[in-house]
């Protein structure tokens, strides 16, 4: 593989990984919250979290640009057209996928396992860490993998806030677009092949995780 192809692939993988790690804590908290708690405005928050999934990615990118750009409220973070903007775009676009996939994982954990842990003296945080999260782990892992694969393919929001600076912000999808646009068909095909292989691997692993649920005791309500 040519050096610049390797560089773009490595950079994209690193950014997607960073974005996934960044969105894991808030994504897991939101998934748990939606699965386990009722609160005023819940459906509004759920809709807000889902928005990047249904809005044009370019529109999401524009919102990010206005928020983090020269006149935005978060301009002091100075991330526009840097690798941090790539991570942010990928994380925002991946969040709804993580939340929507991890949520059923939490819903499937019988409440009685958590009560049992409490009866053994565990506080709420320990119950979450040692019982709820491990029992929901396949849903969380599948969601993280989906968010990762989405991050690998992120284009619209990335190009709005990070641009396509070779060696600094250029990701695989943006590089494919640039190569196709400038008539470098051979390069576009090579980038495309890498992209397909990565996406296929991530989606396949995510599907396997969702299907293989751990065996739990029949924890139905007793009389």
């Amino acid at each position: 593989m040519p050096t610049d192809l390797l560089q773009v692939t490595g950079f994209t993988l690193a950014m997607a990984l960073a974005a996934t790690l960044l969105l894991l804590p808030p994504g897991v908290c939101l998934a748990w919250l939606f699965a386990r708690r009722e609160f005023p405005g819940k459906s509004l928050v759920e809709t807000l979290v889902s928005l990047p999934l249904v809005m044009p990615p370019v529109a999401t990118g524009l919102i990010l640009l206005w928020s983090f750009g020269a006149r935005g409220p978060f301009r002091s973070l100075d991330i526009i057209f840097t690798w941090r903007a790539v991570v942010l775009a990928m994380a925002v676009m991946g969040l709804p996928l993580l939340v929507r996939t991890a949520r059923p994982g939490f819903e499937q954990v019988p409440r009685r396992y958590e009560l049992m842990a409490e009866s053994l003296g565990a506080g709420r945080l320990r119950v979450f860490r040692t019982v709820t999260l491990p029992l929901a782990r396949r849903g969380v892992a599948a969601g993280a993998l989906l968010a990762f694969s989405r991050a690998l393919g992120e284009f619209g929001a990335t190009i709005m806030i990070a641009g396509s600076i070779p060696g600094r912000t250029l990701t695989l999808p943006v590089a494919i677009y640039t190569a196709a646009e400038t008539g470098q068909d051979g390069r576009a095909a090579a980038l495309l092949a890498v992209s397909v292989v990565l996406a296929f691997g991530a989606a396949w692993a995510s599907n396997r995780l969702v299907r293989a649920e751990p065996a739990m005791d029949d924890a139905g309500e007793g009389a």
């Binding site: 009685r112 396992y113 009560l115 049992m116 842990a117 409490e118 009866s119 053994l120 003296g121 565990a122 506080g123 040692t130 019982v131 491990p134 029992l135 782990r137 751990p214 065996a215 739990m216 005791d217 029949d218 924890a219 139905g220 007793g222 009389a223």
Partner: protein, 217 residues
């Protein structure tokens, strides 16, 4: 060891209402009655898994629930061990991970010796038999040093031969660890094998209280 237990509460769920007004001593108190009598609901109210609508629950001098004064001790502070019918062993942990979950000090060795599960300790819980699961669930509850142990039909998923062995373990727990117990069953023979005192429960009400002489057959 005996422990004074005050149960004075009303618990409604759907069309079923459980009303209890009893002061009892558990050595081993057997709650005996048919399915749907409210035995499990009573245990779960003591454990804090279900909240009564009104009344009071106290074990010894500790008030666990009192609607009048707004006391409702959180589940994790009740020190009430519970072995439900389905055992609820944590499927992602080994036997040792389960037994050690709420364990205090060297209690793990002691209970694994009494319940003879030392050779199971490194196994995942998925491959255990019904009897082994119940012994591990018992060990896990006991390792947390509960002030009171609640057992809900612990022999329901166990064949006849193993039933006798597990009843032996339960008597050893009573005699060697001195943990007071409330034992739910609808099997008279099982009740007779362990009971110091008996409460008969039917349709959400206590219909009789006394010794094993109350039991049929």
């Amino acid at each position: 060891m005996s422990l004074a237990i005050r149960l004075r509460f009303t618990l409604r769920q759907g069309r079923f209402t459980l009303v209890v007004d009893e002061d009892v001593d558990a050595g081993v108190l057997v709650l005996y009655g048919p399915s749907g009598a409210g035995k499990t609901s009573l245990l779960e109210a003591i454990a804090g898994w279900r909240q009564p609508q009104s009344g009071a629950i106290a074990i010894g001098d500790r008030i666990l629930y009192a609607s009048a004064s707004g006391v409702d001790v959180p589940v994790q502070l009740r020190r009430v061990g519970y072995v439900p019918q389905e055992a609820l062993l944590f499927p992602h942990l080994t036997v040792r991970g389960n037994v050690a979950y709420g364990a205090a000090g060297d209690r793990i060795d002691r209970v694994s010796e009494i319940l003879e599960i030392a050779d199971l300790m490194d196994r995942p819980v998925a491959g255990l038999s019904g009897g082994e699961r119940q012994r591990v669930a018992l060990a896990r509850a006991l390792a947390a040093s509960p002030a009171l142990l609640l057992l809900d039909e612990p022999l329901a998923a166990v064949d006849t031969v193993r039933r006798r062995r597990i009843l032996t373990y339960i008597r050893r727990i009573r005699d060697e660890l001195g943990v007071p117990m409330i034992y739910v069953t609808h099997q008279a023979a099982e009740a007779r094998a362990v009971a110091d005192r008996v409460l008969l429960l039917e349709d959400g009400r206590v219909t009789a209280r006394g010794t094993i002489d109350l039991l049929p057959g």
